[in-house]
């Protein structure tokens, strides 16, 4: 039994225990903290290593070859670290809620861990689906809106994500069929990779498959124009679900592109029509969603839309495909996950205490709740990309990764896109600063009163903020993990 299996199993077993009536909060928090320790231990063990480590495989079916195979490299470890941190924060901040909140958080987190740590396409896909179900149910049942409205929102997300998953399944099936060689079908990612190295497909075919995968993974990550489910879903979702889905689960699509699509189809993304399509779509994410976000009037809308917008940068890293840009993309995935979870967590608290999130009804909270303000500032400034916080490192690497070689006098489409995308950073600054100012500064709005949470309630947010600061100042901590992962 590998330690990775334990990491995957722990939250799922905890969810089962809570479902059978164990004390919800104690079991969930206990499992999550043990999990965090295990993940840190694993990361330390991995330090200095390269490639896939801690591999372990249990054959499940011989024909077609299917096995429960686990393994971790730098990228998966970073995402696993992200998952456990966000899980801890999300579960910790649950307050006075029925057990189903704990169960669903554990299931979403456990599903994400499974998706990041298994190396068999079948299980990667399956664990992601496992994590999606509680998301839908929680939005539909405990969302923060009228029943009819939240059901509509949940259905919209279900339809987009369900359709995206099926397109993804079609793409994965295609991959498996193409790369299984003459021998029997296999779902093992490593076997497929070695096959892809030995007999690469022609570029045109790579492009077709890559595009199908891009549509599938893309709609899971709210790639423009398949994004319209995301903002209402996040704005409506209960706080822990919003934190976990936008912070962690959404990264699955990007992870899939980096771990599955790029290594198996290295030329796919560089074929011109695919790249241009991807660039157009991600510009849609950055520019159009940026403008939409600026016009949002409520904090949850701003956060939800900004979460969609920031995916554009990560796609930009994937579109470039260079090593620096991809590492930047991974760092940005980590950074975005932490910062958006922090913001959604704080946003949920505000909604509980104030009952409203509309900017024109808020103001002057800084004087009542200084600690809260500082924590929010960490999230907001990280989201803008302030140097010293992790997001900055990621964004810079992505932008630079696109300029590794500049031919005299001619900028490529990629580079033009980067230049346009830089305007997105300005937009982020505009909406985040506006949100920050209208909530925390100015004259206190009448009838609103909010105090700092008790210290024990602050802990989850402090952990997230500290992570942003530490990895922001020392991005090499993360970079070191990914030495040869790409």
């Amino acid at each position: 039994m590998s330690v990775l299996e334990l990491i995957i199993a722990l939250p799922l077993l905890a969810a089962l225990a809570v479902g059978l009536g164990a004390p919800a909060r104690a079991v969930s928090l206990g499992a999550t903290i043990i999990n965090l320790i295990l993940v840190l231990y694993t990361t330390v063990q991995y330090w200095g290593k390269t490639g896939l480590a801690f591999t372990y495989s249990r054959p499940i079916l011989e024909n077609p070859s299917l096995s429960f195979a686990v393994g971790a490299d730098g990228i998966s470890l970073i995402l696993v670290l992200l998952t456990t941190l966000v899980m801890l924060a999300a579960i910790w901040q649950i307050h006075d809620r029925p057990a189903i909140f704990y169960i669903s958080s554990l299931l979403i987190g456990g599903g994400a861990l499974g998706a990041f740590l298994t190396t068999d396409i079948f299980f990667i896909y399956a664990f992601h689906e496992l994590a999606l179900i509680p998301t839908f149910l929680m939005i539909a049942l405990h969302g923060r809106a009228e029943p009819a409205h939240r059901k509509a929102v949940a259905w919209k997300a279900t339809i987009y994500l369900g359709a995206g998953s099926l397109v993804l399944l079609a793409g994965l099936v295609w991959l498996v069929l193409e790369f299984s060689g003459g021998s029997k079908l296999t779902f093992d990612l490593e076997a497929l990779r070695s096959q892809a190295r030995l007999n690469p497909l022609p570029a045109a075919k790579q492009a077709q498959i890559f595009f199908v995968l891009l549509l599938g993974f893309g709609s899971l990550v709210s790639l423009f124009p398949f994004h319209s489910w995301a903002a209402p879903a996040y704005a409506t979702a209960p706080t822990p679900v919003a934190m976990l889905h936008s912070g962690v689960l959404k990264k699955f699509g990007l992870y899939g592109l980096i771990r599955i699509a790029l290594p198996l189809l290295p030329q796919g993304v560089h074929v011109e029509w695919v790249q241009n399509a991807l660039l157009l779509m991600l510009l849609g994410n950055i520019l159009i969603m940026g403008l939409v976000t600026i016009h949002a009037n409520r904090l949850d809308d701003t956060l939800a839309n900004s979460s969609v917008m920031h995916m554009g940068y990560i796609f930009l890293g994937i579109a470039a495909g260079t090593e620096i840009a991809l590492k930047g993309a991974v760092i940005l995935m980590f950074a975005h996950g932490i910062s958006i979870a922090l913001l959604f967590g704080l946003c949920g608290r505000m909604r509980n205490q104030l009952g409203t999130l509309e900017y024109n009804k808020l103001g002057g909270l800084a004087s009542h709740a200084p600690a809260f303000t500082v924590l929010f500032a960490f999230g907001a400034f990280a989201s803008i990309g302030l140097p010293g916080l992790t997001n900055f490192a990621g964004e810079v690497m992505i932008f630079l990764g696109n300029f590794t070689e500049i031919k005299a006098g001619a900028l490529t489409n990629l580079q033009w896109t980067v230049i346009l995308a830089l305007w997105g950073v300005v937009m982020s600054a505009v909406y985040m600063l506006r949100a920050y100012r209208s909530i925390f500064h100015g004259s206190p709005a009448t009838g609103l009163f909010m105090i700092d949470p008790a210290f024990s309630q602050r802990v989850p947010f402090i952990i997230l903020a500290a992570t942003l600061l530490v990895t922001g100042c020392c991005p090499w901590l993360l970079l070191n993990l990914m030495k040869s992962a790409l």
């Binding site: 054959p59 499940i60 079916l61 024909n63 077609p64 689906e129 397109v167 399944l169």
Partner: protein
């Protein structure tokens, strides 16, 4: 002791139960039911220990029986579903007896035994005559079973509809057999395969016969466009019978279909490619016509009926994909695997419906509202069943669908693949609609719902099987070996 002894023994047990009830009218319902269950369980246990080679069969059945892996698999399958159906009948008995004559249920325990024997014989059939007589034994028994709760207008109407369409399909089937016989001069599957490999055989005649025969079988397995009877009959029939129809009768139809297609599509068959195209079109149509209307159903029993049509479509698509170099699962293997996973999830679904009925609830989606509050365990089990029927990963239902998709993609049948994917997406919609209803919290000021200990045990066992097979399908590995179930006789 041979397999045939077990089959004949089952039929005799069925008759014995009838006699018992006739001569001892005061015998209790549960005695009868438990005897039937015990007998079938004993048969299942014995089935694993008797010799499995054809030489062990008595001489007079040997020419008509084959005991290949396909037959053995379906025989075990028939026994398993019969045990579950008998048990379900016992569980639903208090409700069912309100609609039967004098509150008697004896035939509900004895006829399934005869049906089971018929299905087991059908699985071994080597020629069309055996197929015909065993199929009719099963069908006629089902006429009686469907209309059994005759004091309920629903059951009676379902009986009439099943009767008319069953008889129609019999007529079509015999006409198809006639033409196949006319084209090939034989009724044995091996002989048909041999004759069809001979270029001198008249292609149009053979094709016409095969198409008519497939239409006849299409009725039995509810393939489009012969699926219209399914929703009405499934909705009207008593719930245990519906479960039996949707799993047992369908599996029996598919075993015959597998055998017939192995003959029609054997290597070098002159009509192989046409039959394959026919299957693809029918399969695509069936998945769509099953899934799309299901989205608009308000009755869960009807919804399950439509979903059963759509599952038949996936099975037909699986049959269309013969093995290739890369995808070396024979279509028979995939069908067997799919049916093996289909059994626990469908029975669990109908079990839930039956238990709700027994508690005085209806079968509409609105009756499911707040089920999670009334009985969290039942809600969880039903969720597992529906998630698996929808084909969610990590449940048994996913793997079967995945193999169908793999087969279609491998052969490059993109049109059919797209239809299958659309149907799967629609499936997610209607199953989640029901699941959502169970967990909804509005207006759930209703009493709790109880069910018995044995019911709990069986339901939990079924759910566990669904989950275990979803992540660890190895127990079914034997079904999936290339030399396993349903290989084309080469």
């Amino acid at each position: 002791m041979s397999v045939f002894t077990i089959e004949a023994g089952l039929a005799l047990l069925g008759l014995a139960l009838l006699l018992l009830e006739a001569f001892k009218p005061d015998i209790s319902r549960s005695t009868l039911g438990l005897t039937a269950i015990a007998g079938t369980t004993l048969a299942l246990v014995l089935f694993f220990f008797v010799p499995h080679d054809s030489a062990s069969l008595p001489g007079f059945v040997q020419p008509w029986h084959q005991l290949d892996s396909l037959a053995l698999f379906y025989k075990g399958f028939a026994l398993a579903i019969t045990i579950l159906v008998l048990w379900l009948t016992l569980e639903c008995a208090p409700y069912l007896t309100r609609f039967t004559v004098d509150g008697k249920l004896a035939e509900m325990f004895s006829l399934p035994l005869i049906v089971c024997a018929g299905m087991m014989w059908m699985a071994s059939a080597r020629d069309l005559v055996t197929v015909f007589v065993t199929l009719e034994l099963v069908t006629v028994s089902f006429y009686v079973l469907v209309a059994f709760a005759r004091k309920s207008a629903f059951s009676l109407e379902a009986g009439v509809k099943y009767l008319i369409l069953g008889a129609l399909s019999t007529g079509v089937l015999v006409y198809g057999i006639a033409w196949i016989y006319g084209a090939t001069g034989t009724m044995s599957f091996d002989g048909i395969a041999k004759a069809l490999a001979n270029p001198a055989t008249s292609k149009t005649t053979a094709l016409f016969g095969a198409a008519v025969l497939l239409c006849g079988l299409g009725f039995k397995v509810a393939a489009a466009p012969f699926h219209m009877w399914v929703p009405d009959v499934y909705q009207g029939a008593p719930t245990p019978v519906t479960a039996f129809l949707s799993v047992g009768s369908k599996a029996a139809g598919f075993v015959v279909l597998t055998r017939a297609l192995n003959a029609f599509m054997a290597e070098g068959s002159i009509i192989g490619s046409e039959i394959q195209a026919l299957l693809l079109v029918t399969g695509s149509l069936t998945v769509l016509l099953g899934s799309l209307p299901a989205m608009f159903q308000t009755s869960v029993k009807r919804l399950l009926a439509y979903s059963s049509i759509s599952h038949a479509g996936y099975l037909l698509l699986a049959l269309a994909c013969r093995e290739s170099a890369r995808f070396d699962l024979s279509s028979g293997s995939v069908v067997a695997f799919y049916l093996a996973t289909y059994l626990p999830m469908t029975v669990l679904g109908f079990l839930g419906l039956g238990l709700m009925r027994a508690n005085g609830l209806g079968e509409d989606i609105k009756d499911f509202a707040g089920l999670a509050k009334r009985n969290p365990l039942l809600a969880m089990l039903m969720t597992i069943s529906f998630a698996s029927l929808a084909g969610l990963p990590l449940t048994a239902g996913f793997l079967g669908k995945l193999f169908v998709f793999l087969g279609l993609a491998d052969h490059g049948y993109w049109g059919a693949l797209i239809c299958a994917i659309i149907a799967a997406a629609a499936g997610f919609y209607y199953y989640f609609k029901t699941i959502l209803a169970m967990y909804t919290t509005e207006g759930t000021d209703v009493p709790a719902l109880t069910f018995s200990g044995p019911a709990k045990a069986v339901a939990c066992a079924l759910a566990l099987i669904i989950l275990i097979l979803g992540v660890y399908p190895k127990p079914l590995q034997q079904v999936l070996t290339p030399s396993g179930v349903g290989m084309v006789a080469k």
